[in-house]
């Protein structure tokens, strides 16, 4: 009998420790812990992004409940996205979803942006064309001419957003399929490959390349944006300066909630994120990671993400 009592007591204690619900009431208030899901591992860009937002909200007491970051990367992140879409606590579920993630999500199939309610876009990454300082091509024009002559020009990048913007650029330059794309896993790998002279050109984002451009080991040949980047990338011309139409495919870093999120909750989060975007702490973060300030509210985000999804579906059909 003693055994059973002990077992029951311990079992109850353990079960209670797992139960994590604290009900609150009043206004539009969050009624439980907010779960902010990140579909990649801790320490990565999306993770830092989410934690910074959560910290800013907590420090400014804009939420009456703690915000808990949960990393869940299996199934390439698709599992966590599906879980959020069908969350049973929609008002307290957030998902960090960049336009890159969205593209992957749509390509893998089974989910759409319509399963979510976009809340905000908090920043954007744009791309650069980079080359090693001892690389074959000193300007983008050199590379374009070489490719037109039939020489092999290798360009590295990630097979997600960087490949997309590369293709957009090649279309504009009338060089479709003329650059040989070497698929790499991350911007760090692109930088490594450029430094080692294994590829001629590379697609990259400012944050990954900044230190190398500052030290001179890597040169930025072009800015895929409507205006030049800030230093140290200010030497890179935009495509329009080279005589073409500008090409850009910003990687938007956004936040979404599940479809079932209530209107009251949506406007609460919409407002909160707006406050975060305007805060000094956020601006500091953007500077640190070289993210362009590009705040979009819920309605604008929905529009933007629908465009991204459309483009991804078109690419998939090809």
């Amino acid at each position: 009998m003693n055994k059973i009592c002990l077992v029951t007591a311990v079992m109850t204690a353990l079960t209670l420790s797992v139960a994590d619900v604290s009900a609150q009431s009043g206004g539009f208030a969050l009624s439980r812990n907010v779960e902010f899901v990140v579909s990649s591992k801790a320490g990565g860009n999306s993770d830092m992004f989410s934690r910074t937002i959560a910290d800013i909200i907590t420090q400014n007491k804009w939420a009456n409940q703690p915000i808990v970051i949960r990393n869940q990367e299996e199934g390439n992140g698709q599992v966590s996205r599906r879980n959020v879409a069908s969350s049973k606590t929609p008002d307290e579920s957030l998902l960090c979803l960049s336009s890159g993630d969205l593209t992957v999500m749509v390509t893998l199939g089974g989910l759409s942006i319509e399963d979510f309610r976009p809340i905000a876009i908090m920043g954007a990454d744009k791309h650069l064309v980079l080359a090693g300082k001892d690389g074959k091509y000193k300007t983008l024009k050199d590379a374009i001419e070489a490719a037109k002559k039939g020489e092999q020009v290798t360009i590295g990048g990630t097979p997600g957003d960087e490949l997309t913007v590369l293709n957009m650029m090649l279309e504009e330059l009338d060089l479709v399929d003329k650059f040989d794309f070497v698929s790499l896993a991350s911007s760090a790998e692109t930088v490594t490959a450029l430094l080692g002279g294994h590829i001629d050109l590379g697609m990259g984002k400012p944050a990954a390349a900044r230190e190398y451009v500052k030290s001179g080991d890597i040169v930025a040949l072009a800015a895929l944006s409507t205006s030049r980047f800030s230093p140290p990338f200010d030497q890179a011309p935009t495509l329009s300066e080279l005589g073409y139409k500008n090409v850009e495919f910003p990687l938007y870093r956004g936040i979404v909630g599940p479809k079932a999120m209530s209107d009251a909750a949506l406007s609460y989060w919409d407002n909160t994120m707006k406050q975060v975007a305007e805060s000094a702490a956020w601006k500091e973060y953007l500077d640190k990671v070289l993210l362009a300030a590009d705040y979009k509210n819920a309605a604008q985000t929905l529009e933007e993400y629908r465009l991204v999804e459309k483009r991804a579906l078109e690419a998939k059909k090809k």
């Binding site: 320490g43 830092m48 970051i69 299996e74 097979p159 070497v182 698929s183 230190e211 500052k214 080991d217």
Partner: protein, 502 residues
């Protein structure tokens, strides 16, 4: 060289402030704990603690994280040796010889060997880092796709040395490992392969739960079957003397430790290869080329020493590209990189110049963490070794419980647990039917890197295989590869010819 020493001295003065020493100490303990838990490796440990360290000042924070990373290599050996459940992937090879040693009643010796080898490996790694860091990092840059592919080929041949007597089964195991690795997203195109429509399989099969199951859970099966034949728990004569290394032991482990340390450091410098690959190569080379008194795999301290020295050396080596070029040398250093950026320190070619206090302080603190980790580990040996005396009946559910929890932790969902259980059943079947276990795991680790690099190289060369023979480094590696493959064949032909000669 003198300048480096001067900078290092400055670094020591930074690292030995009370705050930083305390951080290193706490980091060392946490790291050992985290390392010993199956399913949580340095990657998870650092990543989970990263947010907390944002509140500290950067130097202290990175010292703590560095200590965790480092001592993780010490900790992983514990569960590998005592329970045959590798704490994380670099500890797999440690389990191969460590656990049999423990079963033979010499757990203390195994633990001490592993700690000492880890320490020496770390020291050698860091000395190389200090003096040759930037140069080696630049050399590492020269390893592009074709060079990495060639290196992986060489590494794959060493898998064959672990196969044992039955080549057919070895080939099957290796191929299975490679095929499992192809499941999930294809690194080159971003498309998914072999997911069979299952949302979880989109990410492929996670390695760590697979390892926990394949080796650890399979171990439980074995314990259960033999529980009644092991009349009493293994008695360890637990005197300090019994656990110490004799002079003879030290002589035995010195060559493998030295060799593996150099090898491990270099592997750590390579972008994309980390402690796991290093420990495996160190072990395989020891098995093939080393002088081993006992058969490797049955409890030879040479194998244990080789694996542990290599993985710690690689951990040191991984800091090289991180500090001198801002390129992460392994998964965990990638997390550290993220942390550095958050603190406003920008690792890159100019880090040593712009933040010398930080860079050298970190290096100096790694030396200190290494020492602290060694001390903490050594002090806990007597306690740890008692674990082996726990009766089998309690061990079985305990191991199962901890494995379940650890496997869950790797994926934050039951998926990891399911993989682990399937891996466990598979591992048990493998062992029962004499299929070698190590080749499957190692093929898994190496094959995705091999495939990706071969494909990238072929894009660069426009489909021509000559790229592997044109570039100097990959040419050398390919020659090594062919020599390794052809040598046994040639030897076989020669010996047959000799036999025919009257």
């Amino acid at each position: 060289m003198v300048e480096s020493l001067q900078m290092l001295a400055m670094g020591f003065s930074v690292a030995t402030s009370v705050e930083n020493l305390l951080a290193a100490f706490i980091g060392a303990i946490l790291g050992i704990l985290v390392g010993a838990m199956p399913g949580i490796g340095s990657l998870a440990g650092c990543a989970l603690l990263l947010p907390i360290t944002f509140k500290f000042n950067p130097v202290t924070a990175i010292i703590m994280l560095g200590a965790i990373y480092y001592s993780n290599m010490f900790g992983g050996a514990y569960s590998a040796i005592l329970l045959n459940v590798p704490g994380d992937s670099p500890a797999i090879m440690t389990a191969l010889d460590g656990y049999p040693l423990a079963r033979k009643g010499r757990a203390g010796k195994a633990l001490l060997t592993s700690n000492v080898s880890s320490f020496v490996g770390g020291v050698i790694g860091m000395v190389i880092l200090v003096f040759l860091g930037p140069a080696l990092a630049r050399l590492g840059l020269k390893f592009g796709p074709s060079e990495m592919a060639a290196l992986m080929l060489v590494a794959m041949t060493s898998v064959s040395w672990l196969v044992g007597e039955n080549p057919v089964k070895g080939v099957i195991a290796t191929c299975l490992g490679m095929m499992i690795a192809t499941m999930g997203v294809d690194g080159i195109t971003g498309n998914v392969r072999y997911d069979f429509g299952n949302i979880y399989l989109l990410g492929g099969i996670n390695f760590i739960p697979l390892v926990i199951g394949f080796i650890g859970l399979a171990q439980v099966f074995e314990l259960a079957e033999n529980r009644f034949s092991v009349a009493e728990p293994i008695q360890e004569k637990f005197s300090i003397l019994g656990g110490l290394l004799t002079r003879h032991d030290i002589r035995r482990i010195t060559p493998p430790v030295l060799k593996s340390s150099f090898l491990g450091t270099f592997v750590g410098f390579l972008p994309g290869a980390g402690a796991t690959t290093a420990s495996f190569l160190g072990y395989a080379i020891q098995k093939k080329f080393g002088k081993n008194e006992e058969e490797l795999g049955t409890g030879a301290i040479e194998g244990l020493a080789a694996a542990e020295a290599a993985n710690n050396a690689a951990a040191a080596g991984a800091f090289g590209p991180l500090l001198s070029l801002g390129i992460p040398g392994s998964g965990t250093t990638a997390v550290l990189l993220g942390g550095l950026m958050m603190w406003g320190l920008n690792p890159g070619p100019m880090l040593f110049a712009s933040e010398p206090e930080f860079a050298w302080g970190l290096i100096a603190s790694l030396f200190i963490s290494n020492l602290i980790a060694l001390l903490v580990a050594m002090i806990s040996i007597p306690w740890m070794a008692k674990v082996i005396r726990v009766p089998v009946g309690v061990m079985i559910p305990s191991i199962i419980t901890i494995c379940f929890v650890g496997a869950y932790a790797t994926t934050n969902s039951m998926y990891g647990v399911v993989i682990m259980v399937i891996g466990g059943v598979l591992g048990y079947l493998f062992q029962k039917n004499d299929y070698p276990v190590a080749p499957l795991l190692l093929a898994y680790v190496l094959s995705s890197s091999l495939e990706i690099n071969v494909r990238r190289a072929l894009v660069i060369s426009k489909g021509s295989v000559s790229i592997f023979f044109e570039r100097p480094i990959s040419l050398v590696l390919m020659l090594v590869f062919f020599t390794l493959i052809l040598a046994p064949v040639i030897r076989g032909i020669l010996s047959r010819a000799r036999k025919q000669r009257p």
